[in-house]
C-alpha cells in the first residue's frame, strides 16, 4: 500500500500548507466584524470550477495510486509474468505529449485572444488525443494476438485494466474538450472560452503525468521505487 500512502502524504502536506494560510490558528470568539483578510472573489464561477477540478484530480490521483498499490502487491506473487510492452506505446506516448502541448498552446491563445490559434490548438489536441486512444486499442489487439490474454496472467490483466481506466478518464476529458471545440466554432469569444480551455489543459497535463507514471511502472523502470514503496508497508 506504499504508493497510496506516498500520494496521501503529498496531499497532507498541501492541505497543511493551505490550512495554515486560512487562519486555523485564529481565535474566532475574539474577532467580530467582517474579517479583515477576506478577499472579495471577483469571479465565483471560475474559481469554483478551478477548485472543483483540483479536488477531482486529487480523487483521480488517489484512484490510480490505489491501483498501483494493488499492482505492487500483486506483482510479488510467484505466478507473475511481465508483459512485453508493444512498441506502439511509444508512438501513443508521443501523441499524448503532443496533445498536451497543443492544449497548452490553446490556453495561451485564449489568454491572448487569438481566435484562429485557439481553434487550431483545440482541434490538434482533440485529434492527437483520439490518435492516442486508437493507438491504445491497437496495443490491446496486438497483445491479444500474441496470446497475452486478459485471464491468462494477472500482469496482463493489470495492463488491460490500468490502460483501460486511464483511457476512460481521457475519454471523459474528450467530452469536455468536444464541448469546448463546439463552443469555439459557434463563435464564443476566446475570453469567454478561457476558463474551459484552461481546465481542459490542466486535466490533460494531469492525465499525461498519470500515463507517464503508468508507463514507467508497466515497463518495469519504476521497480526500485516500487521496492521502496513496498518496504514502507505491504
Amino acid at each position: 500500500m506504499g504508493s497510496i500512502l506516498v500520494f496521501l502524504t503529498g496531499l497532507l502536506i498541501v492541505a497543511i500548507w493551505w490550512l495554515s494560510r486560512q487562519g486555523v490558528l485564529s481565535k474566532p470568539w475574539l474577532e467580530q466584524g467582517v474579517a479583515v483578510d477576506f478577499t472579495e472573489k471577483s469571479d465565483l464561477s471560475s474559481s469554483a470550477a478551478r477548485t472543483g477540478l483540483a479536488v477531482f484530480l486529487a480523487v483521480v490521483g488517489s484512484l490510480f495510486a490505489l491501483f498501483l498499490s494493488a499492482y505492487a502487491l500483486r506483482m510479488q506473487l510467484p505466478d507473475w509474468r511481465d508483459v512485453p510492452l508493444p512498441a506502439i506505446l511509444w508512438l501513443n506516448t508521443g501523441m499524448l505529449i503532443l496533445s498536451s502541448v497543443a492544449l497548452q498552446g490553446a490556453r495561451k491563445a485564449a489568454r491572448e485572444g487569438e481566435e484562429d490559434a485557439l481553434k487550431l490548438g483545440l482541434l490538434a489536441a482533440g485529434v492527437t488525443a483520439l490518435a492516442f486512444l486508437s493507438g491504445q486499442l491497437l496495443a490491446w489487439r496486438q497483445l491479444n494476438a500474441e496470446g497475452y490474454l486478459l485471464a491468462s496472467n494477472s500482469a496482463n490483466a493489470f495492463f488491460y485494466v490500468l490502460t483501460g481506466i486511464h483511457g476512460l478518464h481521457l475519454l471523459g476529458g474528450l467530452i469536455a474538450l468536444g464541448r469546448t471545440i463546439l463552443r469555439a466554432w459557434r463563435g464564443t469569444t476566446p475570453e469567454r472560452l478561457q476558463i474551459s480551455v484552461g481546465l481542459c489543459a490542466t486535466y490533460w497535463h494531469f492525465m499525461l503525468l498519470v500515463w507517464l507514471v503508468l508507463l514507467s511502472v508497466l515497463a518495469g523502470w519504476a521497480g526500485n521505487v516500487i521496492d521502496i514503496c513496498r518496504q514502507i508497508l505491504s
Binding site: M1, I4, L5, L8, L11, L12, L19, Q22, G23, V24, L25, S26, K27, P28, W29, L30, E31, Q32, G33, V34, A35, V36, D37, F38, E40, K41, L44, S45, S47, A48, T51, G52, V55, F56, A58, V59, S62, L63, L66, F67, S69, A70, L73, R74, L77, P78, D79, W80, L150, A151, S154, A157, V161, I165, L233
Partner: protein, 592 residues
C-alpha cells in the same frame, strides 16, 4: 479580557452575488423531481436513505428471529441468513449512513450554514442524487435476481464471495452488489465535489473557515475523506468484478471448488482485504465526523453555551481525519500479517483515541454549568456522547492485537461496532432530524412521540448490545447461522439471545412511530417560526421558513461573528446570530 480590534465592526454593504446564476424551476418535474435545489436534493437523499434503512431494519429483525429462536422460523435457512447479514451491513453503512450524513445533511446544511444560495455545481448535484438512486435500485434488484442477493458478508471477502458455495456467488447477487457499489461511488464523487467546493468557494462574506459551525467542519472533512477513500472500494470492486465475470486472478488463488480445480492461480485474497479496509476504516470516520460536528452544534445550542475549545474541536476533526487513513490493518489482525505491522497499527489506532477524547471532554465541558434544555434533540445528543464513549472504550480493547485475536470472531466485535458505528451515529441522525425538521417544514415534530421514541431507542439499544458484549466474552461466535451445541456456550446464552431478539423487535417497532411522527407533524405539528431553538447559525436566520430556492431572498447574509455567541454577558438576548453586526458590549467576552 483581550483587546479586540473594533475598527471594522459595523454593517458592511451586502456582497454582490448575482441571483441569475441559479437555474429556476419552471414545472413540477423540475421543482420536485429533477430539482437542482440542494434542499430538495437533500430531502430526496434523506427519504431514499431512510427507506433503505427501513429495509435494513427488517433484515435485522429477521436475523434476530433466527438467532433468538433458532429453528422456529423455517423460511430462514442458512443461505437466507447470510444474505440478510450482508445486505443489512452494506445497506446501513454505505447506503444509509453515508448517504444520510453527506447527501442528506450535507446538501441541506452546507449552503444554508455558510450563507450560499445553493451548491456551486447544482446540475452535478442533481446527477449525484439520481445516480445514488440508481445504485439503490440495482442493490434492491438483487433481492429479485435469480439466486437472490449476495451472502458473502458485508466485507465481500474473496475467494468465497465469488464461489458457488456462497449465495449469489455464481449467480447475479455479487455482480449486482459490485456494480451498485461502483455506481454509488461515482454518484458520491459528484456530490462530494460539491460539498467540498461549496465550503471552499461558496461562503458568504465574512464567513471565514474558523467561523463555520462545527457541523460544516465535520461534513467538509468527512466529504474530503470519502472522496479519497471510496476509490479504494472502487478499485477492489473493479478487480473483483473482473475476477468474477472475466476469469482473471487478481484475488483468486489456486482453488478447488466443489471437488473441481478452478482455472485460477496466484491471486491474493489479502490484497482485497487491504483495499477494502483502506476504504473501510476511513468509512467509520466518514460517518462519525459529521456526527461529531452535528452533536457539537446541538449541545451548544440546547445548553445555551458557546462550544468549549472551538479551535481544538476543529483541529481534532482534522487530526482524526488524517489518522484514520493509517489504521486500516487493525481490521486484519487475524489475517496472518507480520506481527510488527500489527504493532504499528495498534499504536496508530490507540493514538486516534487522543483527539477523540479531546472532543468528548470538550462536549462535557460545554455542558458544564450550561442552561441545559432537555428537549428531544438534546436528549439524543447526550445519548450519543455516552454511547460513543462506550463503543470507543471497547475499541481500545479490540485495537490491541493480543486482545483482538481471541475476541475477533465473537459477538464482542458485533457489539462494539454497533455501539460505535451503528447506534451512536443513528442517535445523532435522530437528534439532527428533530433539530432541523422545523427549518425544513416550518413545523415542530411532536414532543411526546419524540420522547417515547428517544427513551425506547436509547434504553433498548443498551439492552440489545450490552448483553452482546457479554456473549462475546463467553466466546459466542459471530457470523454463525446457529450456535448449536457447544460445550462453552451455556443454556443461559440462548435465553439471553431470545431476550435480545425481543428487545430488538420492540426498538425496531418504535422507529415506525418516528416515521409516523415525520408524516403526521407535516400537517399537524405546532408552527415553529423561523428560529424555534433561538440558535445563532445562519440557517435559522433565513427570511422565510422553509427557505425557498435561493435561500436568502434579495441579499445573501454577511457574517460578523463566530457561530457560538450564546449567553454573551451584557447582550440583550442569550444568543447573537452570526449575521448580526457587532455591539460594543459583547465584544471579546464570550470565551469560556
Amino acid at each position: 479580557m483581550t483587546d479586540v480590534p473594533l475598527g471594522h465592526v459595523g454593517p458592511a454593504p451586502a456582497a454582490d452575488v448575482e441571483d441569475v446564476e441559479l437555474y429556476h424551476p419552471h414545472s413540477w418535474i423540475t421543482k420536485y423531481v429533477f430539482s437542482q435545489d440542494a434542499k430538495v436534493i437533500a430531502i430526496q437523499y434523506s427519504l431514499t436513505a431512510l427507506s433503505v434503512g427501513l429495509i435494513a431494519l427488517v433484515l435485522s429483525w429477521l436475523m434476530r428471529l433466527q438467532l433468538g429462536f433458532p429453528g422456529v422460523f423455517t423460511f430462514i435457512d442458512a443461505n437466507a441468513y447470510y444474505q440478510f447479514i450482508t445486505m443489512h451491513g452494506m445497506m446501513m453503512v454505505v447506503y444509509v449512513l453515508t448517504a444520510l450524513f453527506l447527501g442528506g445533511f450535507g446538501n441541506y446544511l452546507i449552503p444554508l450554514m455558510v450563507g450560499a444560495r445553493d451548491m456551486v455545481f447544482p446540475y452535478v448535484n442533481m446527477l449525484s442524487f439520481w445516480i445514488y438512486f440508481l445504485a439503490v435500485l440495482i442493490l434492491v434488484a438483487s433481492f429479485f435476481a435469480p439466486g437472490g442477493p449476495t451472502g458473502a458478508g458485508w466485507t465481500l471477502y474473496p475467494p468465497q464471495a465469488i464461489l458457488s458455495g456462497t449465495p449469489g456467488g455464481q449467480d447475479w447477487g455479487i455482480i449486482l452488489m459490485l456494480v451498485s457499489l461502483m455506481v454509488f461511488i461515482i454518484g458520491f464523487t459528484m456530490g462530494g465535489l460539491n460539498y467540498v467546493v461549496t465550503v471552499l468557494q461558496g461562503r458568504a462574506r465574512g464567513m471565514t473557515l474558523m467561523r463555520m459551525p462545527l457541523t460544516v467542519w465535520g461534513i467538509f472533512t468527512a466529504s474530503f475523506m470519502a472522496l479519497l477513500a471510496f476509490p479504494a472500494l472502487f478499485v477492489g470492486a473493479v478487480m473483483m468484478l473482473f475476477d468474477r465475470a472475466l476469469g482473471t486472478s487478481f484475488f483468486m488463488p489456486a482453488i478447488v471448488e466443489m471437488g473441481q480445480t478452478l482455472d485460477r492461480n496466484g491471486g491474493s485474497p489479502l490484497l482485497f482485504q487491504h483495499l477494502f479496509w483502506f476504504f473501510g476504516h476511513p468509512e467509520v470516520y466518514i460517518v462519525a465526523l459529521p456526527a461529531f460536528g452535528i452533536v457539537s452544534d446541538l449541545i451548544s445550542t440546547h445548553a445555551r453555551r458557546n462550544i468549549f475549545g472551538y479551535r481544538m474541536m476543529v483541529w481534532a476533526l482534522l487530526a482524526i481525519g488524517a489518522l484514520s487513513f493509517v489504521v486500516w490493518a487493525h481490521h486484519m489482525y487475524v489475517s496472518g500479517m507480520n506481527p510488527y505491522f500489527g504493532f504499528f497499527f495498534a499504536t496508530t489506532t490507540l493514538i486516534i483515541a487522543i483527539p477523540t477524547a479531546i472532543k468528548v471532554y470538550n462536549w462535557v465541558l460545554t455542558l458544564w454549568r450550561g442552561d441545559i434544555h432537555l428537549n428531544v434533540p438534546m436528549l439524543f445528543a447526550l445519548a450519543f456522547i455516552v454511547t460513543f464513549l462506550n463503543g470507543g472504550l471497547t475499541g481500545l480493547f479490540l485495537g490491541n492485537v493480543v486482545v483482538d485475536v481471541p475476541l475477533s470472531d465473537t459477538m464482542f466485535v458485533v457489539a462494539h461496532f454497533h455501539m460505535v458505528m451503528g447506534v451512536a451515529p443513528i442517535l445523532v441522525i435522530f437528534g439532527a432530524i428533530y433539530h432541523w425538521y422545523p427549518k425544513v417544514t416550518g413545523r415542530m415534530l411532536d414532543d411526546t412521540l419524540g420522547k417515547i421514541h428517544f427513551w425506547v431507542t436509547f434504553l433498548g439499544a443498551y439492552l440489545i448490545f450490552f448483553p452482546m458484549h457479554y456473549l462475546g466474552l463467553m466466546g459466542v461466535p459471530r457470523r454463525y447461522y446457529e450456535i448449536g451445541e457447544m460445550s462453552f456456550v451455556p443454556l443461559s446464552a440462548h435465553t439471553l439471545n431470545a431476550f435480545i431478539t425481543i428487545v430488538a423487535l420492540i426498538v425496531g417497532a418504535v422507529q415506525l412511530l418516528f416515521v409516523f411522527n415525520l408524516f403526521w407533524s407535516l400537517r399537524h405539528g405546532r408552527a415553529s417560526g423561523g428560529n424555534p431553538w433561538r440558535a445563532t447559525t445562519l440557517e435559522w436566520q433565513t427570511p422565510e421558513t422553509p427557505p425557498p430556492h435561493g435561500n436568502w431572498g434579495k441579499e445573501v447574509p454577511t457574517v460578523y461573528r463566530w457561530a457560538y455567541d450564546y449567553s454573551v454577558p451584557g447582550a440583550a438576548e442569550d444568543y447573537i446570530p452570526q449575521n448580526q453586526p457587532g455591539t460594543q458590549s459583547s465584544a471579546g467576552m464570550s470565551h469560556g
